[in-house]
C-alpha cells in the first residue's frame, strides 16, 4: 500500500483555480468515500480550506490512483489540461512530511497560524465517520496531530501576533485580562477601527461607543457592532468610563491631547487606559503616553511588533522541520516506507 497526496494551495494556484476544487465542510466525508471507490484505493481523505485543497489516498499503486483522481477532477471541474500544473503530487514519506508541515502551520499563508490544525482535524473526523479511512490514514493523521502539537509547544512558531489588529487585541488582553469587563470607544468610523473593534468584541469586550464627525455613520457602525453612537463633541465624557480607545479619524492634526485625559483621570480613579492610534497623521498627541496610567501605541509601533513576530516565526522554521523529521523517523509509518521495503 502506498500513500499519496495530490493538492494545490495558495502558492501553486490562484484563487480562481482553488475555488473550483474547494469542497464544502459538509461534503468532506462523502467526497472521501467517493474517492475510495473511484480511484480503486483503500483509504481517502480530503482537506479543503480557503488556501488549499488536498486529497490523501492509500492505494496499491499510487501513480495509477493519482492519474484516476486527476482525470476525475478534470472532468468534474471542466478545466483545461493546463490546470494540472497547479497540482503537487507527493508520495510516501514526502506526503507524510507534507501533512506534518500543514498541521504545524509551516505551509500556511500566515506562518504558524493555528486554524489549520482544527481544519485538518475536522477533515479527518469527516473521513473517519464516512468510513473512508483505515489503518494507514488513521495512524498517519494521529501521528501528524501529535507532531503538530509538539512543534507548536516546543518552538515559538505560533508566538506573537502577526497582524496589527491582533497585536492591538493581544495588548488589550495583557492590560485588562479578560475583556468582558472592558469598554471600548472608537474615534472615527474608518475600516481599520471597525476591524480592530470587531476583534475586541469577538474576544468579549463589554460595550462599544462610536464617535464620528458624521453622526449617521457613527450610528451605522454602532448598530453593526451592537454598540452606542456618541456625538463627536461628546467623546471626552465617554473617556471617563472606557478602557480602550481606538482612533482612526482622517483629521490632519491630533484630536486627543493630554489635557483631555487629565480631565478624565479623577473620574476614572486613575485606572489603566489603552490608546490605539491607527491614524496617519496621528490622532493622539504622543505626550498622552507620558501620563502614568496610559499605554499609547501608534500604527508604526503596532506594525513593528507584528513584523518582529513574523521575523521570530521565520527563525523557528528550521527547528520545526527538525522536529518533524525526527518524529517521522521514529514512526516508520505504513504506506510511507521507500519502495521495496
Amino acid at each position: 500500500m502506498e500513500l499519496l497526496c495530490l493538492g494545490l494551495n495558495h502558492r501553486t494556484a490562484p484563487v480562481e483555480v482553488r475555488e473550483r476544487f474547494a469542497v464544502g465542510t459538509k461534503k468532506l466525508g462523502a467526497t472521501a468515500h467517493e474517492l475510495v471507490a473511484m480511484t480503486g484505493g483503500s483509504e481517502a481523505l480530503v482537506i479543503s480550506t480557503c488556501n488549499r485543497t488536498e486529497f490523501y489516498l492509500v492505494a496499491p499503486d499510487a501513480r495509477l490512483a493519482c492519474s484516476r483522481l486527476e482525470t476525475h477532477l478534470a472532468e468534474k471541474t471542466q478545466l483545461d489540461a493546463g490546470v494540472a500544473a497547479h497540482f503537487y503530487r507527493l508520495e510516501r514519506s514526502a506526503a507524510a512530511r507534507h501533512l506534518c508541515r500543514v498541521v504545524s502551520g509551516l505551509d500556511s499563508m500566515l506562518l504558524g497560524e493555528t486554524e489549520i490544525f482544527g481544519q485538518v482535524k475536522q477533515a479527518y473526523q469527516a473521513a473517519l465517520e464516512a468510513g473512508a479511512t483505515a489503518a494507514v490514514l488513521n495512524r498517519l493523521f494521529q501521528r501528524a496531530f501529535g507532531v503538530g502539537k509538539k512543534v507548536r509547544t516546543e518552538t515559538s512558531i505560533q508566538q506573537g501576533s502577526t497582524s496589527v489588529g491582533n497585536v492591538a487585541v493581544d495588548l488589550a488582553e495583557k492590560i485588562f485580562g479578560h475583556l468582558k469587563d472592558s469598554e471600548v470607544m472608537i474615534l472615527g468610523a474608518g475600516e481599520m477601527s471597525r476591524i480592530t473593534a470587531q476583534s475586541l468584541v469577538s474576544r468579549g469586550a463589554r460595550s462599544i461607543f462610536v464617535a464620528n464627525r458624521s453622526f449617521d455613520r457613527a450610528q451605522e457602525l454602532a448598530i453593526e457592532m451592537g454598540g452606542c453612537a456618541v456625538r463627536f463633541d461628546e467623546w471626552q465624557k465617554v473617556l471617563e468610563r472606557v478602557d480602550v480607545v481606538i482612533s482612526s479619524t482622517g483629521c490632519p492634526f491630533p484630536i486627543v491631547h493630554p489635557a483631555d485625559v487629565e480631565q478624565a483621570r479623577h473620574a476614572r480613579k486613575f485606572r489603566p487606559l489603552f490608546f490605539i492610534d491607527i491614524a496617519v497623521p496621528r490622532d493622539i498627541d504622543p505626550a498622552v503616553g507620558d501620563i502614568e496610567e496610559v499605554y499609547l501605541y501608534d500604527i508604526d509601533t503596532l506594525e513593528q511588533l507584528a513584523d518582529q513576530a513574523r521575523g521570530s516565526r521565520q527563525l523557528q522554521i528550521e527547528e520545526c522541520e527538525r522536529i518533524i523529521d525526527t518524529e517521522l523517523a521514529k514512526f516508520n509509518l505504513l504506506g510511507t516506507r521507500p519502495e521495496g521495503r
Binding site: 515559538s156 508566538q159 485588562f176 485580562g177 480613579k269 502614568e292 501605541y297 521570530s312
Partner: protein, 260 residues
C-alpha cells in the same frame, strides 16, 4: 535537625527560583515552581514544628525564627493565591525573597542553636506574634506583586514586548486586583495582631518601654497601610504609585523588627 530542614527549605526555594527564571528566560510558563515551593513549605513547617516544641510556644523568639516564620507566611500566601489566580510567575518573584529571608536566618548567630523553653506563655502574646508575622507575609507578597506590576508597566510603556518575562507576566488589571486584595488581607491581619498586642500583659520591669516601642512602630505601619487603602479606595491611585508605595512601605515596615 531543625537546621537541616531549614537548609533543605532554602535549597528547594532556590531550585524553584532558578528553574522558574530559566523557564521565563525560555519564554515558557514556570509550572514546576509551585511544586518546589510546596516542598520548601513542608520543610519550613517541619522546622517551625521542631522549634515550637523546643520553645513550648509559637517559635517567634529570635530573629531567625521570625525570618523563617515570615518566609513560611510568604510561601503560604503565594501557594494560596498564585495557582488560584494562575499567576505562576508570582512564584518566580516570591522564591528569591524566601531564599534571602531563610539564608539570613541560617547565618551564624541569627538562630539560637539551643532555644530555651519559654514558660508561662500568654495566648494574647502568641496571637499577637503569629498574626503579625502572617500579616507581614501577605504584605510582602503584595510588595512582590507591586514589583511585578512595575516591571510589566515599564515594558508596556517602552514597548519592549518580546521577552519571555513579558509573556509570562499576568495582565496589569489582575496584578492590581491581587495587590489590592493582599493589602486588605495584610492590613486586616495586622489590625488583629496589634489589637492582641495591646491586650497582652506588658512586663514593666524588663524593658517595658521596648514592648511599647515595637507596638507603636507597628501602629505606625498599620496606619500607613490604612491611609494607602483609603486613598486607593476613595480617590484612586495609578498602578505605578500604588506599587511604589506598597514596595516602599513594606521595606520601611521591616524596621519594626528592630524594636522586637
Amino acid at each position: 535537625m531543625d537546621h537541616w530542614l531549614l537548609t533543605a527549605a532554602t535549597l528547594l526555594a532556590l531550585l524553584g527560583s532558578v528553574r522558574g527564571m530559566l523557564a521565563v528566560h525560555r519564554g515558557r510558563r514556570s509550572r514546576s515552581t509551585v511544586i518546589w515551593m510546596a516542598a520548601a513549605m513542608a520543610c519550613q513547617i517541619g522546622f517551625l514544628t521542631i522549634r515550637g516544641e523546643l520553645r513550648g510556644v509559637c517559635p517567634l523568639k529570635d530573629n531567625g525564627e521570625i525570618l523563617v516564620f515570615l518566609a513560611w507566611s510568604l510561601t503560604l500566601f503565594y501557594l494560596l493565591i498564585g495557582p488560584a489566580y494562575r499567576i505562576s510567575l508570582l512564584g518566580v518573584f516570591t522564591a528569591p525573597v524566601v531564599v534571602v529571608f531563610q539564608a539570613i536566618a541560617l547565618l551564624p548567630g541569627v538562630l539560637e542553636t539551643t532555644p530555651q523553653k519559654i514558660t508561662g506563655g500568654n495566648p494574647w502574646h502568641e496571637m499577637h506574634s503569629a498574626t503579625s508575622v502572617l500579616a507581614y507575609g501577605a504584605l510582602a507578597l503584595a510588595a512582590v506583586a507591586g514589583v511585578m506590576f512595575l516591571v510589566l508597566d515599564r515594558q508596556l510603556k517602552e514597548h519592549h514586548l518580546q521577552s519571555g518575562l513579558f509573556r509570562g507576566l499576568p495582565p496589569v488589571r489582575e496584578l492590581l486586583v491581587s495587590l489590592g486584595r493582599l493589602l486588605w488581607l495584610g492590613s486586616g491581619l495586622l489590625s488583629l495582631g496589634i489589637l492582641a498586642g495591646f491586650l497582652m500583659p506588658h512586663d514593666k520591669t524588663a524593658g517595658g518601654h521596648l514592648i511599647a516601642g515595637h507596638l507603636l512602630a507597628a501602629l505606625a505601619v498599620w496606619l500607613g497601610y490604612v491611609v494607602l487603602l483609603a486613598v486607593k479606595s476613595v480617590r484612586g491611585l495609578t498602578g505605578r504609585r500604588l506599587s511604589l508605595l506598597t514596595v516602599g512601605w513594606f521595606i520601611l515596615s521591616l524596621g519594626v523588627f528592630a524594636f522586637v
